[in-house]
């Protein structure tokens, strides 16, 4: 009896240990393990029906607007090439694929843009863990006869958004793009007889007029939205050369007249910002700041075209109508609108790199574009704006109306302890500018010193 009991106990322990030990190693994989086809030992460089590829995509506002969008695109890819797709679609994509990637299990294709709080894509760029996909540009789009680069709108590849090391090699393919600018209530402007300002002086005049009616000139969802606003401001004031210098933290660039002008605009704007903005500029409450526009409590906010879908169900003032304008040009500058771009890329540790490239090429097919368009998403494919309707048609035509398209962002630099991210150095302090706990000089001084360190740690190929 005793022996039996002892045996039973050991068995139970062994079982429980096995159960506990096994769990963390194997991620919840209900699907069969991917066939190891794309690694170096494969004789055939482009196996036609390779094992299933793993695609990880961020579930953004487009997916909300048209649920099942990604599933449909993946099914279309399978129908075209015969390759099965295992789709991971999450709002918090970094938290889902991050841990398994740390364990060496990489998706084959990742759709996750730079500029997100978790900075996953930035980290991959900094550590050079992204596969070179320059040859995707010359690949034929699956199911079509055209090559990828013949379909791409010129100018979308070649900035540091797609070629982060500036060596002419493309690592991140351009996916959904969205013009960013200042969003406002066109109905309110018509009602009051106000004109959309084309210079900053007109902007301040309007600010005074609005103040008299108890409306603030400006608000912003969170400081993160300045990552499109601030570069555009630099561009519109200083032009492309100055913009490129600033994006690469060139020596003395923040002491120039152009930079001074930009900082002045920023701190003046802080003075005209709705006072409640910083208190709501967090991930929990940022829609309340967006609501200020809908409620006619603020006139302008920097945002992207997704705002229409994001606030679709929100209550709004009578006669509300979305309007979007480019940033006013400076004294010598041009009006400009940032072109925000999501990227799709392949981790260099992925096991099916070749099939992954095929998948990326498929993203530019007419079929994929058609499915994405249902969610309001647009890729930089020639002629994509022709089929648009309603608000989107107006938004995407901003470049046809004389605004320069601004592409590219602050260059990647190697992380240095104590330095902080671009957002922490440049944009987060804006909250404090608005609340008055920071002066313009303190802000600029910090940018100047941090920018020097950033330049010294620029990542070059």
């Amino acid at each position: 009896m005793k022996k039996f009991l002892c045996l039973l106990l050991t068995l139970a322990i062994a079982l429980s240990l096995a159960a506990c030990g096994g769990a963390p190693q194997t991620p919840p994989a209900q699907t069969p393990p991917p066939a190891d086809s794309g690694s170096q030992d494969t004789p055939d460089p482009a196996p036609a029906p390779a094992g299933p590829i793993k695609v990880a995509a961020l579930s953004s506002g487009y997916e909300t607007a048209y649920p099942g969008m990604w599933q449909e695109v993946c099914a279309a890819f399978t129908a075209e090439t015969g390759v099965e797709v295992e789709l991971t679609l999450e709002k918090n994509l970094e938290d889902v694929i991050g841990p398994s990637m740390q364990g060496g299990d990489y998706p084959d294709v990742v759709l996750c843009a730079t500029g997100r709080e978790k900075g996953l894509t930035e980290q991959f760029i900094k550590d050079k863990l992204i596969a070179d996909i320059t040859d995707v540009l010359t690949m034929t789009v699956p199911g079509e006869s055209a090559s990828v680069d013949s379909k791409l709108v010129p100018g979308f590849v070649g900035t540091n958004i797609t070629d982060p090391y500036g060596d002419g090699k493309t690592y991140l393919a351009p996916m959904f793009y969205s013009p960013c600018g200042l969003f406002y209530n066109a109905g309110l402007f018509a009602e009051k007889g106000w004109d959309v300002p084309t210079t900053w002086d007109e902007m301040w005049e309007l600010g005074e007029k609005a103040k008299a009616e108890d409306i603030a000139l400006f608000t912003y969802p969170t400081t993160g939205y300045f990552d499109t606003f601030f570069p555009t401001l630099l561009y519109s004031v200083g032009g492309p050369d100055f913009f490129n210098k600033a994006m690469n933290y060139a020596e003395g660039v923040w002491d120039t007249d152009e930079a001074k002008q930009c900082f002045d605009v920023m701190s003046k704007l802080a003075g005209y910002t709705a006072k409640v903005t910083p208190a709501q500029a967090n991930d929990q409450d940022f829609t309340q700041n967006q609501q200020l526009i809908l409620d006619n409590k603020a006139l302008f906010m920097p945002n992207g075209t997704w705002i229409v879908g994001e606030m679709a169900d929100a209550p709004r003032a009578d006669g509300f109508e979305w309007g979007m304008c480019a940033l006013p040009g400076g004294a010598s500058g041009t009006s400009a609108s940032y072109c925000w771009l999501e990227q799709i890329w392949i981790p260099s540790g992925a096991s099916n790199i070749d099939t992954g490239k095929q998948f990326i090429a498929f993203m530019y097919s007419d079929k994929a574009a058609e499915i994405f368009a249902k969610g309001g998403a647009a890729q930089p494919i020639t002629g994509i704006t022709d089929g648009m309707e309603g608000d989107n048609k107006m938004f995407y035509s901003i470049y046809d109306n004389g605004a320069s398209a601004v592409m590219g962002g602050f260059a990647a630099y190697a992380s240095v302890p104590g330095l902080g991210s671009v957002r922490e150095v440049f944009f987060d302090p804006f909250n404090n500018l608005v609340s008055g706990s920071l002066t313009q000089d303190q802000w600029v001084d910090n940018i100047r010193t941090s920018s020097d360190t950033m330049r010294e740690n620029l990542i070059v190929s």
């Binding site: 506990c20 550590d127 240095v416 987060d428």
Partner: protein, 292 residues
């Protein structure tokens, strides 16, 4: 002889799973934190470089880290003092006084504890809304007779807002704990004290407090450690990044910036800090244990 050998074998077998699990999931990762703080690597990079104490040298000069530790300490001190004061007072009132609907209050106070942090953040974003539609501002406006628009989640009120939310969340749990131990204090003690002419307050300080002291000590240590964790969750879910960082949110941000080693160095400092703080608290609250 034989049976004692069997017995110890049985004991080893029984404790082995727990010990092994604890070792694998607690001890090893903790040791690894110490090891990784001496290296620098990105969260996803396969290579790491040994940098020795360099991470710590930068860390002690990093203004952001110092500020975030100051915030942590401020939160630990204020939240602990306020929570414990109210938890003990409420517990004493609910156990000693005859109040209608005791159980109702008990449940009401306890509810915040079972809510997830996301729900709490949602509730408080309605309470802290900066215009007059926010609950707190609305109440103040009503009593002041003029529009009061306090920007709760902006500087300089943001830390106060976090303190209020944390206290609100923690009171119920500790109150229930003290109610349990207060209920164990024999009523005869209060009766005889009452006969000797001791008032309610004297009874509380002379009888209740000394008899539940062991309980307070233990919960205090728990609470301090959990405040370090909870402060992180509250800050992360309630306020804008960089608005009022605490130790752990600083550590988290460094990881996102691709500085795994640096963030682990911050982790080591926070670990040692909480360890020493608990030891210190344990030391200074030591009293002779009273038997009932």
């Amino acid at each position: 002889m034989r049976s004692s050998k069997n017995r110890s074998r049985f004991l080893i077998l029984c404790t082995a799973p727990a010990v092994i699990l604890y070792f694998v999931f607690m001890i090893l990762p903790t040791l690894n934190v110490f090891r990784m703080s001496l290296f620098e690597r990105g969260a996803y990079s396969p290579t790491e470089t040994f940098v020795g104490m360099a991470n710590f040298k930068v860390l002690i000069k990093d203004v952001k880290f110092i500020t975030s530790m100051q915030n942590t300490i401020l939160l630990i001190v204020t939240v602990t003092v306020i929570t414990f004061f109210f938890a003990i007072v409420f517990a004493a009132i609910l156990t000693r006084e005859k109040i209608k609907g005791q159980n109702f209050f008990r449940i009401v106070f306890y509810i915040p504890n079972i809510l997830s942090i996301v729900v709490i953040a949602g509730i408080f974003s309605a309470i802290y809304k900066p215009d007059t539609t926010g609950m707190l501002n609305n109440i103040f406006t009503f009593f002041a007779g003029r529009n009061i628009e306090i920007l709760w989640k902006s500087q300089p009120m943001v830390i106060v807002s976090i303190i209020i939310a944390m206290v609100w969340q923690a009171i119920g749990y500790y109150m229930v704990m003290y109610m349990a131990s207060m209920a164990a204090v024999p009523a005869s003690l209060y009766e005889s004290a009452g006969l000797d002419g001791a008032g309610r307050l004297t009874q509380f300080f002379q009888i209740t407090l000394p008899l539940i002291w062991t309980n307070i000590r233990t919960t205090l240590t728990f609470f301090i450690i959990s405040t370090i964790n909870m402060a992180f969750l509250f800050v992360k879910s309630m306020v804008a990044p960089g608005m009022s960082d605490v130790g752990l949110s600083f550590m988290y941000a460094q990881k996102d910036a691709g500085l795994y080693g640096y963030s682990m160095a911050a982790g080591v400092v926070i670990f040692l800090f909480s360890f020493l703080l608990s030891a210190l608290v344990n030391r200074v609250t030591e009293r002779e244990v009273l038997e009932m």
